[in-house]
Structures are given as C-alpha cells and as structure tokens.
Symmetry: C2
Subunit: 339 residues, 2 copies
C-alpha cells in the first residue's frame, strides 16, 4: 500500500466533494425499435427540453424513479465504501427534488445546496434500457442547470481532498462557471481536481475547452474509451493513451468488459473488469461507480492498481441491477481488497 | 376448460374495472431493528398522516419510487396477461400524480379519473422491505382518499365483466361510498363484484361491515389466511374456510408458500405455490398479482383450478423482484397454462 493519495490531502475533513447535475432517473425497458422510432443514439446522453421530455415520457413504458446524476452517483458510491463525500447540485422545491435530497442524504452524502423556489422543476434523466443492458439517456436538466458559482463554497471545497467535477456541467454557462470556480478554489487550497468526461457527444461539443482544461487544471481524469478517443480526435485507444500521458497527473480510462487502464507518468496498470456473476442487467452508472471506487482508494492511500480494482468492483455491482447507485455495501463487497 | 366466467360477462367490453387507492410506492430496504425503533408491525399496512409520512421518510434509507396501489397493481397484472382493465382512483396534479398516471396508462390500463387540482398531494406508500423479503406498509393516502361516488361512472362499471374493489377503501368515508355505489351499479348491470380484504388490520377495523358485505354483495372474494381468519374471528384456516363457503359464490384464499385454496360451493381446488427460482426478493404485490391471474383466467373462461394456477404464477413473478407490478409479460410466462 503506497501513499498515492497523501500529501495534498493533508488536513482535509472530507474525502471528495462532487459537483454535478442533480437528477432523478426515470428508467424503463424499451426495445431497439423504440430507439429507432425516436431517433435516439444508443449509449449516448442527449439534452432535451421540457416539451421533448413530456412527449418522450408519454411514449415510454412503465418506469421506475431512482435518484441519479453522474457525480451524485459517484459520491454515493464513495460513502458505500465507507468514505466521506459532499455533493453540490440544484433541485427545485418539488416532489422529485425532495426525492433527490432524501436519497443522497440517506446514503450519507452531505448535501447543502438549497432547492430553488422558482424556475424549472427538478431535472430528470429518462433512461431507456435495451435488452442488451445498454442505456440511452435523455436529460431534461431543469433546475440542475441553475447551479452557478455562488453555490460553490470555498470552505466546502477546501475541506475536501478532491473536488470531482462532471463534464456534463460544460453544457450550461452558469454551471461551467461553477465548475471553473471550484477548480480554482481547490487548487488555491492545495487540493486535487478530478474530472469525468461524461459522454462522447459532450466532449465533442466542448473539445477545445476540455483539452485545455485537462492540460492545465485537472489532476485526475476519468474517461471511457469513446470519450478519450473523442477528446484527442484519434481512432484507437493506444493513440489516446499516448496523448493523455503527457496531459494530466493521473488518468483512469475505462473500457467496459475489457477492463481499465490507469496511468500516472511511467506508473501504468492494466486492470481486468470485475466479474458480474448474474450477468449485466443495466449499465447505467458503470463509469460513475468506477470513479467512486477509484477515488475512495486514492483518498485512503491505496496504490493506483488497487484504486482501479476498487473501481472495477464498484462498476460490476452497479451494472448487476437496475439503477445507478449501489444496492449492497461496497465496503463489504470489497472485503480483502481493502486490507 | 369450463366456462366459469361466462354468463354474466355477456356483452362486456372490458374484463375488469378496479377501484382503489392510487398510490406511488416508495421502497427501501431496512433492518428488523428499524421496524422495532419505529414500532411498526411487520407485514401490516398502517395509515399514516402527512407529518408521520415526512418523519418516517426522513429516517428511511435511499428509496426507489414505483407506482403501486393494490387494485391498480391488479389491473396492471391483468393487462400483462393480455386482458383489458380500467382503473378508478384519485391522484393530484403533481409530479407523483403524473408518475402514477403515466405508469398505469403505459401498462395499457384505462385510467380516466381526473387529477385533483387542490387538496392533499398524491398518496404514497412507504414500504420497508426487511431481509426476509417481508414488506411493511405505511400509507399516506393523500389525494387517494378524495375518491368518491361521483368518480364511479355507470357506463364504465357496466362495460366491465367484473368490478374489483379493494378493502382499503373502507378506511375513508367517501371512498366507502364510491365502493358501495360501484357494487350496486355492477349488480344492476348484471355484472359480478369482486373484493380483496387487503389487510388483517383493515378487516379488524371494519369486521361487521365486511361480513355483511361478503354475505350480500360480493361474488368473488380474495383474502389471505390472516385476513379470512380475522374476518370470521377464528383461529385456524379450515374454520374460516367452512364459514366462507356459505357466504359468497367464489372465494380464493391465499396462504403464501402453502399455496391457495379456491372454493365455489362443492367445487374446491387446492393449488400449490408457484416456484420462485431465484428466491423471494420482495413480497409486495403478491396478493394483488394473485388476484390478477385469477381474474384474467376467470374472465377468459378458464376453470377455477386454472384461475388459481394463473394467480400463483403471477404472484411468483412479482415477488421475485422489487416492486408490486410485473416486470415480464405474464402472458409469455403463463405459456401452456393459457392453452
């Protein structure tokens, strides 16, 4: 066990603070034909407006509501490992906002952002799960897009070893400002900043911004194969890997069933995917929970290889059932990996 | 295949119309200790007020929202078998009301009751699932309790072979009036009336009413062992069975893992429970789905033994996963049982 996470973590009272879109997931099982009819790109996240959200919901089958949001899922994963986490994100003072706030607090995550008392309703993500367990996301941001720099408290950022940001925030100007302010505050407090690229289309929409950001402000980068290849506009994983090596301190790159690669300078780990005994049921949250396992390991002083293994373990748990938050204690599941 | 369901079904365009509490279930996994702390009686349904709903929700772990309501679940089960069903129940014009209406319509059930534009919010049922897969219900009726006789349309009742009523309606004066009106209208139209006793405590609260009702107005009675014993204030199942034989045309009595008994005069069937290969996960909805299978079979002319088998099959499906509505097509699952 090395002390990879030490140093800049000194004096922090919280492992990770996450900033992201506060969303309630609305999940239904749909056929491939359904995706074709509504011209949805499987595996991607599309931003939709209120009108589209209503018309798509009308066409969806019976659904289940579960709190979600990428960075929020990651924070819940960290507490499931026994770590500590805060979340910053905006809901409205409506029923779905109450659900979101209840669920994240019940999971042990600190959540102090006050709900908006006017404006759009709480954001939701309509998630269509196809028979191959892939998920296609349609996000109505609603109140989530109202997150702004004023919601980022210097004391809260300074209290966390790592500030974790989701790339999705780049889709909204105010949220992007919040993102930049958080990164600056974290570095001012001698803390690390982590980013997840979130989605290939999101990366494509903001490629230059993301490249500059990764080079200058991000210490720990999370991306899947599609996202990292899109970021560097290259056709294969190894080419992307060679690029990222020079651009940030640590990169954790996930490749679905092919496992993940963790790199930090010359320190490279190739991690196998964790088995899913009952089969993959719903891939929603795989990347979010990988980041949770990794960040828990990192902030508790495990070496990067072990961090990757913890990420793989958490991802395997969340894809074995519906929804993007763990159903069983990740600390218990991890067992000897945490010794 | 006999024609048990024929005769009084002639000319009906809908198999079953259900009247009940429109509720969204809020499910979380809790320990036995949690039930003790909050003095909850495992396996029962308690009516709670808004204040208690808030304080209990605050203490519950992360939850999942799924549309529920006893009679509503049964109607969804009937459509999953390929039957036709309508539902009458009240929600408010809020987010949870939208969820309820979406889910029941997406399942193919007709739902025409307009949402209330004032008054209490949409009702919800806080469901605590303990490690033994038992569920303990805490119902805040909210808008559901506003259902009244004016919501019962003679044309809709007359169009259905069977009017299915949940005993829970007896807890609210207006709902009870709706119940009585529906039963009277159904009989006026030469249709059958079915009742589920819903819950032992509910039966205890209204025992005399229920006994008179079963004797005079109910053609098909659904009850579990606890409910039927409570109804006749007897200590064992066989004693209850001897009572019910003289009181209504058909009784379907469920006994959890011990299967069910269907009686109609001298026609008696003892049905085994259907196996649950992956194990019982959450018993919520077992009785509701038993009724669905039974009523689908009955309205499609199957004999009473087969009706009981279809009930057992549907109950087995719904207890194999979280939530009280089927996740897979019951028509497909039933396969040769429907030949």
């Amino acid at each position: 066990m090395s002390t990879a996470g030490a140093g800049r973590g000194a004096g922090a009272s919280v492992d990770v603070i996450g900033i992201g879109n506060a969303l309630v997931d609305v999940l239904s099982h749909e056929t491939e034909a359904f995706l074709e009819t509504y011209e949805l790109v499987k595996g991607s996240m599309a931003l939709i407006d209120s009108e589209r959200a209503h018309s798509l919901y009308d066409e969806m089958g019976p659904a289940i509501e579960i709190s979600g949001g990428s960075a929020a899922n990651t924070m819940v994963g960290i507490t499931s490992f026994g770590g500590s986490a805060d979340f910053v994100g905006r809901v409205r003072d409506d029923q779905l906002g109450t659900v979101f706030a209840h669920d994240i607090r019940a999971a042990g995550v600190g959540f102090a952002t006050p709900p908006a008392s006017r404006g759009a309703s709480t954001g939701r993500c309509l998630i269509l799960v196809t028979p191959d367990a892939e998920r296609t996301l349609n996000t109505f941001l609603g109140a989530a897009s109202e997150i702004g720099p004023e919601d980022v408290e210097p004391a809260a950022i300074g209290a966390a070893q790592i500030t974790y940001l989701e790339g999705y925030l780049f889709d909204q100007p105010k949220a992007k400002e919040a993102f930049r302010r958080a990164a600056a505050l974290a570095h001012d407090a001698d803390r690390r900043v982590a980013l997840t690229l979130s989605d290939g289309f999101c990366v494509e929409r903001h490629r230059d911004d993301f490249v500059a950001l990764v080079e200058n402000q991000i210490d720990i980068l999370f991306a899947n194969e599609n996202e990292i290849c899109t970021l560097y506009d290259v056709g294969d994983f190894d080419a992307a890997l060679q690029n990222v090596l020079h651009h940030c301190e640590i990169a954790a790159l996930t490749r679905s069933a092919r496992g993940s690669v963790v790199v930090s300078g010359s320190d490279v780990h190739v991690i196998d995917a964790h088995p899913v005994p009952g089969g993959v049921f719903d891939t929603t949250g795989a990347g979010d929970l990988y980041a949770a396992g990794f960040l828990y390991g990192f902030t508790h002083g495990y070496d990067l290889g072990r961090c990757g293994q913890l990420g793989a373990l958490a991802a395997a748990e969340v894809i074995s059932h519906l929804g993007a938050r763990p159903e069983t204690s990740l600390a218990t599941l991890a067992g000897s990996l945490l010794s």
